[in-house]
């Protein structure tokens, strides 16, 4: 089984109409594929690299929760948020993480609806990333309300205490509903996709605790054809439901801004612009995580260069869309003739935050243009570097939108330069700690590739090529 692994490099990035490039390389069969993926969580002890990463990320997570405690017991004054910038880093971080959380469901849902089979190698991975990013995102508005213990007032429940309801005309409430719906559906989608693979892990398990834990999580899945029939229907239904959901979530997040009157926020381009940016940042984060992971865990046959090539094409397309949106924003600021709007945009590019603006342009618009060249699309370390730039750029995009617009409001006497505090910075770094902690736990205990789905793709390829039994 595992002994048949070959390491010959096969170029599957060619485009040959009528001759489909293979999506799984290395002469893998069903058993060897299962073994390749399952041996990662089945390892008795994870590698030293894992422990080092986990040590760092869990320390940062503890720091995050310590800082949250500090915030709750002291008050929101520990942040740099002050007039006129009342939405500081917490909201920047929220939008940043929610944006990253868009790639997973986009890959699982939209690419599933369009029957893009290459998604099967990366969808589990990206969905997990989505959920962990949404967890990180959810923390920030939660603590941003100041009195965390009253955050349940956001929920529409028949309250005798307040004797009133939330205002459903407010985009902020739409945001609560949209993000929590997205988190729920993404988690369901992720878990449902994992059930057959958890059953695989259950059936391979030797230790009792693994049998029990994976057994309970797999819900007694047997792989019955009658179950598969409903399961597949449910999967495509969830994908179809999640497709508009993905597009709606960041649209609703953008309403938080677009629904206000602030110059620089009050623009109709925000929903599509935000969605394109979210997909861009999400795919960049996928690359950031995927390139080292496939290297470390020997998944190069499953997550091939062709997969990376496809992702970088998404990054190129959405990065260019984002650049187009930046351009159109400026055009409308001039063409619309609103002096406040015009000032807001000139101030963005040439004002005190020009450094942030040009960082954003350089990282989001210029760097991804490298992916026009196939050399860059097929060299993992280059795309890793570019994806880091894209992550930085997308954080700065939210920073530019939130901070520059607020710091120059309608009352010039209250104009101020925003400065973050050490708590702001610590929480942002800590949120990365939480993200990577969850992610490392995921790759330690869960199947990080959708084994059943990849097998179905393999079977499809075999069927096409006329093979009916194991090759090699």
């Amino acid at each position: 089984m595992a002994g048949t692994l070959t390491t010959t490099v096969v170029d599957n990035t060619f485009e040959d109409p009528g001759n489909r490039a293979p999506l799984v390389l290395g002469g893998q069969d069903y058993a060897s594929l299962t073994d390749t993926i399952c041996k990662i969580p089945e390892r008795q002890w994870p590698s030293m690299a894992w422990f080092i990463c986990f040590g760092i990320s869990s320390s940062l997570t503890i720091m995050l929760f310590g800082l949250i405690g500090h915030l709750i017991f002291t008050g929101v004054g520990v942040w740099g948020n002050n007039h006129p910038v009342f939405w500081g880093w917490p909201i920047v971080n929220f939008v940043f993480w929610v944006g990253i959380g868009h790639a997973g469901t986009l890959i699982s849902a939209i690419l599933c609806v369009f029957r893009q089979q290459w998604r099967t190698s990366i969808n589990r991975f990206a969905e997990a990333m989505t959920i962990f990013a949404v967890v990180c995102a959810g923390i920030f508005p939660g603590i941003h309300v100041g009195r965390v213990w009253a955050a349940y007032w956001l929920a529409p429940y028949p309250s005798t205490h307040l004797a009133m309801w939330p205002n459903f005309l407010s985009p902020l409430l739409w945001d609560v509903v949209a993000v929590s719906t997205y988190a729920t559906i993404s988690a369901l989608f992720w878990y449902m996709g994992m059930i057959p693979d958890l059953a695989t892990l259950r059936d391979r398990a030797k230790e009792r605790w693994r049998q029990v834990v994976y057994g309970v999580l797999a819900l007694g899945w047997t792989g019955s054809a009658r179950h598969w029939s409903r399961y597949e229907r449910a999967y495509i239904l969830l994908a179809a439901l999640a497709t508009p959901l993905v597009l709606s979530v960041h649209s609703v997040v953008s309403f938080d801004f677009a629904g206000s009157q602030l110059p620089g926020w009050h623009t109709t381009i925000f929903p599509p612009y935000f969605v394109a940016g979210a997909v861009f940042s999400g795919f960049s984060m996928v690359i950031t995580l995927l390139v080292p992971s496939r290297e470390l865990f020997g998944l190069k046959d499953v997550i091939t260069v062709r997969h990376l090539d496809n992702i970088t094409k998404f990054i190129l397309a959405t990065g260019t869309m984002v650049g187009y949106a930046y351009l159109i924003e400026f055009f409308i600021a001039w063409y619309g003739g609103n002096p406040y709007e015009r000032f807001a945009f000139i101030n963005r590019a040439f004002g005190p935050y020009a450094w942030a603006y040009w960082t954003m342009i350089a990282c989001n618009v210029i760097t991804p243009q490298l992916f026009w060249f196939k050399k860059f699309r097929t060299t993992p370390w280059i795309m890793f570097v570019v994806s880091i730039f894209a992550n930085i750029g997308m954080w700065f995009e939210r920073f530019v939108i939130v901070i520059t617009s607020l710091s120059r409001d309608f009352l010039p006497s209250s104009w101020a330069y925003f400065t973050p505090t050490w708590v702001d910075i610590g929480m942002f770094v800590g949120s990365f700690g939480l993200f990577f902690t969850l992610f490392l736990l995921f790759i330690r205990f869960m199947p990080m590739v959708a084994i059943a789905e990849v097998k179905a793709v393999m079977a499809h390829e075999r069927h096409k090529s006329g093979e009916s039994s194991h090759e090699s």
Partner: protein
């Protein structure tokens, strides 16, 4: 059942089906088609991944899951729509910038999200329920070979409940499909391992879970005399303390409920550093007096800005005329029956007005005098106001008539002392400092001076062009 023919089967076990193992999806698909062609209906196939065409091969009918998703999704959307209508338009209408209470476009995001949420959750749970999951115990799991069904093996099972099922012929049919092997699958005869305490505990937990909703439901329909229990009282009940009452020590270390001003600070509007204007005292002369009194025998009746401290004293003391140059003046003693011998020194009252004397100030003073002073002192200052006349008519014997403003003791008083009297009162006269601003008090003093002058005027006081008209009177 012909169990005895199968050597693997002991008579105690019950066969629930026959399981054939294959090594590829295509073989399984072909086998499924053959088995169905042979008339078997209660069959199932097991594979590590969904096999294209298996539904048709086995005759699996399309699931009703989409209808469930549609129904629950619509329910979610309508619940969102009507929930928003109820909450923001009927139960607690929120007026926002004159917008309509119910605006359909504004309900779209929440209704949409709830549609997706309802349909998505229904899809997931519906899939599990229709599949009979979770089902953690399954006799198939007892077959060691079956565990590869989730890795790389493909199984076809014909259940014993199928009308056509007969062990030997069914087995030979399966074996004719070139499987890797055929096995009988027995029912699970092991005793139920569920401990006895599980059921009562579950029932108990279920009952206890009903307690909170029951309490909430009861609280919503009953009235209570007791104040509401606040988990987080926040600032609903702020402790308030009397200004001079002691406060808990955890409030301020000195246990005072109110804070003294920070040393070296003056409240806004309380600086009042112009003694001539605010106190009617000439600070330069006051200093000179104090210097001379330090060498002499005089006591410290007042001292500059700290004059307030001396006020009580001063009220008790009384209207000994300015600086008391001659305390033996008979007029003085008559006018101040309650005053002590009173050789107490007077402060250095100002003798000229500290603010410009204008016609407007005089008019203002007359108006204020008529409002505040004339009720007792009379419009002319004779001490014959309405209040005084009425009090004398009552003959109660307790009324002390107000002083005429035209007696010598008042005439001799410097304007500073008159201002002081207006501000703080004298004897039974209350002070008007709380009711009249500083400028108005000086305006009244000015008007009193005018009234006094009118009783003692000489023709020289009248402008020469008006002198003629006066004569006509």
């Amino acid at each position: 059942m012909t169990q005895a023919q199968d050597p693997q089967i002991t008579p105690q076990t019950k066969v629930i089906g026959l399981l054939a193992e294959f090594d590829s999806p295509d073989a399984l698909l072909a086998a499924a088609e053959r088995v169905r062609g042979a008339g078997y209906l209660k069959t199932d196939a097991f594979s590590p991944f969904p096999i294209h065409g298996m539904d048709e091969a086995m005759g699996i009918r399309p699931t009703g899951l989409p209808w469930l998703a549609l129904l629950v999704g619509m329910f979610g959307g309508l619940a969102g729509l009507f929930g928003e209508l109820w909450a923001n338009s009927i139960d607690y209408p929120i007026m926002v910038s004159g917008k309509p209470f119910f605006s359909l476009p504004a309900t779209i995001p929440v209704s949409f999200e709830l549609t997706i949420l309802g349909a998505g959750v229904a899809t997931f749970l519906g899939m599990l329920v229709l599949n009979g999951l979770p089902r953690l115990a399954n006799p198939l799991f007892r077959k060691p070979g079956f565990l590869r069904a989730t890795t790389d093996r493909f199984f076809l099972m014909i259940e014993a409940t199928d009308p056509k099922f007969d062990l030997a012929p069914t087995r030979s049919l399966l074996e004719s499909l070139q499987p890797l092997g055929v096995e009988a699958c027995e029912a699970d005869t092991s005793p139920s391992p569920m401990p006895k305490f599980v059921l009562p505990v579950l029932v108990l937990m279920g009952c206890m879970a009903l307690i909170p909703p029951a309490l909430i439901a009861r609280a919503r329909v009953t009235k209570s005399e007791k104040p509401r229990f606040d988990t987080f009282p926040d600032m609903d009940y702020t402790p308030g303390y009397k200004a001079q009452a002691p406060a808990p020590t955890n409030l301020f270390a000195d246990r005072r409920a109110s804070r003294p001003p920070v040393p070296g600070t003056v409240p806004r509007g309380s600086l009042q550093d112009d003694d001539r204007l605010y106190r009617g005292i000439d600070p330069d002369q006051q200093t000179a007096m104090r210097l001379s009194s330090q060498t002499g025998t005089m006591l410290t009746s007042t001292s500059g800005p700290a004059e307030e401290a001396a006020e009580e004293e001063e009220i008790a003391e009384e209207d000994a005329p300015d600086a008391a140059p001659d305390p033996t003046d008979p007029e003085d003693t008559a006018d101040a029956p309650m005053a002590a011998e009173d050789d107490e020194p007077q402060p250095a009252w100002v003798t000229s007005f500290p603010l410009p004397v204008t016609r407007e100030l005089m008019v203002r003073g007359r108006q204020r005098y008529d409002i505040y002073c004339s009720a007792c002192h009379g419009l002319g200052g004779d001490g014959s106001g309405l209040v005084s006349r009425r009090a004398l008519e009552l003959e109660q014997g307790t009324w002390i008539p107000p002083l005429s403003l035209h007696v010598d003791s008042v005439l001799e008083q410097p304007v500073g002392q008159l201002y002081h009297t207006v501000t703080h009162g004298v004897r039974s006269m209350p002070g008007y400092g709380d009711q009249l601003i500083v400028e108005d008090r000086w305006a009244i003093v000015l008007y009193i001076r005018a009234l006094q002058r009118s009783r003692n005027a000489s023709p020289a006081d009248v402008p020469s062009d008006l002198l003629e008209t006066l004569r006509d009177l």
